[in-house]
Amino acid sequence: MEPVLDVHQLTMNFGGLRALDSVDLDVRPKEIVALIGPNGAGKTTFFNCITGIYEPTGGDVFAARPGGARKARLNGLKPNQVTEKGLARTFQNIRLFPNMTALENVMIGRHCRTSSGIVGAIFRGPRTRREERETVARSHELLEKVDLAEYVNELASNLPYGAQRRLEIARALATEPFLLLLDEPAAGMNPQETLELDELITRIRDEEGISILLIEHDMKLVMSLSDRIFVMDYGRKIAEGSPEQIRVNPEVIKAYLGEEAV
């Protein structure tokens, strides 16, 4: 099947430092793919290159909505244009809009799928009002999906930690992505919350029919969740394969535990 994300020879230099060195990666429709590797391996840089925060030094990033339009090249697009194409992401540290309610946070995610501007806001024609009603309804629906219905009108900064994480996912989903990029979604979660996250991510994949690419250090979560795993070290891809293959891959063990362990 045509991949939804196709990365060719992605390279990123920061001055003399090569943070990414010719990385190839692909994600297929409705697939959960994990990107793992020791700290400083270039995983977050990889995300930043794909989502338009950095412009890669070399290589290509292609993406296509499954069954939709032809492949689009993402290099050089601005982050909001990448989001418009259908890629959404979350961050390692929580990046909610703290002084807005949970509902408003999700509604911001709808921003790129709606269009009424200042003029519409002043005259409030039927189109503006319908669009607003739809935005509110869809946002409520998403909050319910991530089990946040009880926090709808709560300020984002007042939510418990696990709920803030799920709110970020809801906001990302609001942009109608076909690929969700999660940067360490389980960071700082307790085992119970991690378990719920595992269930939530699987449910999102099944119900929304989207693909998920995640960076994660919690190996238990990675192994149970992923269809395929890519491993990076020092900016290079050192392995790819199913969880079973990765578990026994000597390169991977070396990268994590050092030479002597092998």
Partner: protein
Amino acid sequence: MEYFLELFLGGLTRGSIYALIALGYTMVYGIIQLINFAHGEIYMIGAFTALIVANVLTLNGMQGIAVLVIAAVAALVWSSAYGYTVEKIAYKPLRDAPRLSPLISAIGMSIFLQNYVLLAQTSDFVSFPSLIPDFAFMDPVAHIMSSAELVIVATTVVVMILLNLLIKYTRMGKAMRATAQDKTMAVLSGVNVNRVISTTFVIGSALAAVGGVLIASHIGQINFFIGFIAGIKAFTAAVLGGIGSIPGAALGGLVLGLTESFATGYVSSDYEDVFAFVLLVLILIFRPAGILGRSTTQKV
């Protein structure tokens, strides 16, 4: 008592104008942490535009409130265009530069616009027609509050309410708040931040233009330099209230206007500006973040 009331209402009027201009400073600061020193000039350009349009209309035999409305709308549109363009030319290319650079280019823009109007118009004070008519129903209280003052205060209140609704409830308002809180995340959520910033400049400029038309018509004369004084005062008001806070700008404007009015009335008009800035110094000593501003801890 009557004298007190007169001073109070005078201060309210003055404060309304400061608040209208201060909103532009505070909105822009809230979104891109830039003190837009060219903002006072936008206000001045608004007043000049209104003057030209009003003169043309009057020469063609138009009269009454229609002249005010058309002149004000023209000023609003023209000033917004200036605000939009200034942002694109002077600030957007410096978006990722150190914070001092756009500040310098703001001062440059301010000087440029002043001198441009000086060349294109005149260095003298020109008289501005009093476009706000005297309402008959205001006659009994005219010795305390003029019709012009009433119009200024009422317009400001309406504009503030509209602005508040816009920011609280509309799609663009949400995008503005999101951009102010976390620009990167706003972009990643699909918000076109450049458009949000442009809109902020346009709204701020429009408010300044409204202030410019109203006060020029009240005071009766303008020149190319009025933007500087008004800009500094409004900036003071914004800092007083807590820069970045919209209710703060309104409150700061009122506090400043009332202080000046009472100081002029009870002490001496020679010290008008002294009192304004003494107030600023006091607030900065005891509440550095402004009256409504929240002090932010710098994260390292």
